[in-house]
């Protein structure tokens, strides 16, 4: 049975969304572009256990965090980057990102972002619908490909991304440094929000909520997360 089979949800969920979730889980179990499968699964496990810092506690300076790998397969630096992405992303600054990208390399950093942003929506939807989180997959063997795609450049983001003949919103090219994960991430986004030919239409009749209702929820969610973009 597929991990996100319809019968595992207490309410009906669009099959296209569940297929996207299954593909994320399959991708999570394999080696990525910059992390092994075991490391990818460990990053998602750390995402799930991340909590905000207590009020008044200053976030650690990433320059001072160890990159020695611990028993969970991650370093203190990696764990803090995951924590920041998972529960404190609204406070990421350019200076913080510059240090982290310099220490981890752009590929490993972008792939961490990709793993967090693929799995947070899945876990959150499960929480909201009263479904237990899906067990993490068993990592498969293999080495990361470490392939840097052609056509990347530094153009305003913290990391290189697709440039040149790019047409489309910046959010769609955000993770172009890791194309396989970006494709799975975009499948999640397309199935849950912007699906296919409907995105340019102001009147939506293909889903239960109207477009104004969808955008109202989206805008409130973005504001609560203090996301400028």
């Amino acid at each position: 049975m597929a991990p996100f089979a319809p019968e595992t949800f207490p309410r009906p969920v669009d099959p296209e969304i569940l297929t996207a979730f299954d593909n994320v889980w399959d991708g999570l179990a394999g080696p990525g572009t910059w992390w092994t499968a075991a490391e990818r699964v460990a990053i998602v496990a750390a995402t799930r256990t991340s909590v905000p810092l207590p009020l008044g506690e200053v976030a650690p300076d990433p320059d001072g965090l160890s990159d020695i790998v611990g028993p969970d397969g991650l370093s203190a630096l990696t764990r803090e980057v995951v924590r920041r992405l998972a529960v404190d992303a609204g406070r990421i600054t350019g200076d913080w990102a510059a240090v982290v990208v310099d220490r981890l390399g752009p590929g490993r950093y972008v792939e961490m972002v990709a793993l967090v942003v693929q799995t947070v929506p899945i876990d959150l939807l499960c929480d909201l619908l009263g479904r237990p989180h899906q067990d993490l997959p068993t990592p498969r063997a293999g080495d990361p490909s470490q392939v840097v795609p052609d056509g990347l450049g530094q153009e305003g983001a913290f990391v290189p991304w697709a440039v040149g003949a790019w047409f489309g919103p910046n959010v769609a090219r955000a993770l172009s440094y890791v194309p396989d994960d970006n494709a799975r991430r975009m499948e999640v986004v397309m199935s849950m929000y912007s699906g296919g030919q409907h995105f340019g239409e102001m009147v939506w009749q293909h889903r239960p909520l109207s477009r104004p209702q969808v955008e109202l929820i989206a805008a409130r969610t973005s504001a609560i997360n203090e996301c400028f973009y």
């Binding site: 990421i92 942003v117 955000a174 993770l175 929820i217 609560i224």
Partner: protein, 96 residues
């Protein structure tokens, strides 16, 4: 709770659901019956789907430092100032 927000049917309830779902997903389920009564079970699932996917999108934007697309940046000068969005930390990524 509930009612319209401007001309958006059940806008007040959907905003309340979004706020609860973002701050305490388990507690948000206390609103399920009210949301279903307003927009149906499929509508409740759709609302949960949108909250969930945007929790990924905001992390993509903030984690990568995505600058606001030029056309949107130009078209939203007044709205951003009025609503206080220019005070968000991530605004620096679009104005540097």
């Amino acid at each position: 709770m509930g009612g319209a927000t401007g001309s958006i049917p059940h806008g007040g309830l959907l905003v309340s659901y979004a706020e609860a779902a973002n701050r305490d997903p388990a507690a948000a389920r206390a609103l399920d019956d009210e949301v279903i009564a307003a927009v149906g079970e499929d509508g409740l699932v759709d609302a949960a789907v949108i909250v969930a996917v945007f929790n990924g999108l905001v992390r993509s934007a903030d984690g990568i430092g995505i600058p606001l697309d030029d056309a949107v940046l130009a078209a939203t000068v007044d709205a951003r100032a009025t609503l206080g969005f220019d005070g968000y930390l991530g605004a620096a990524n679009s104005t540097r």
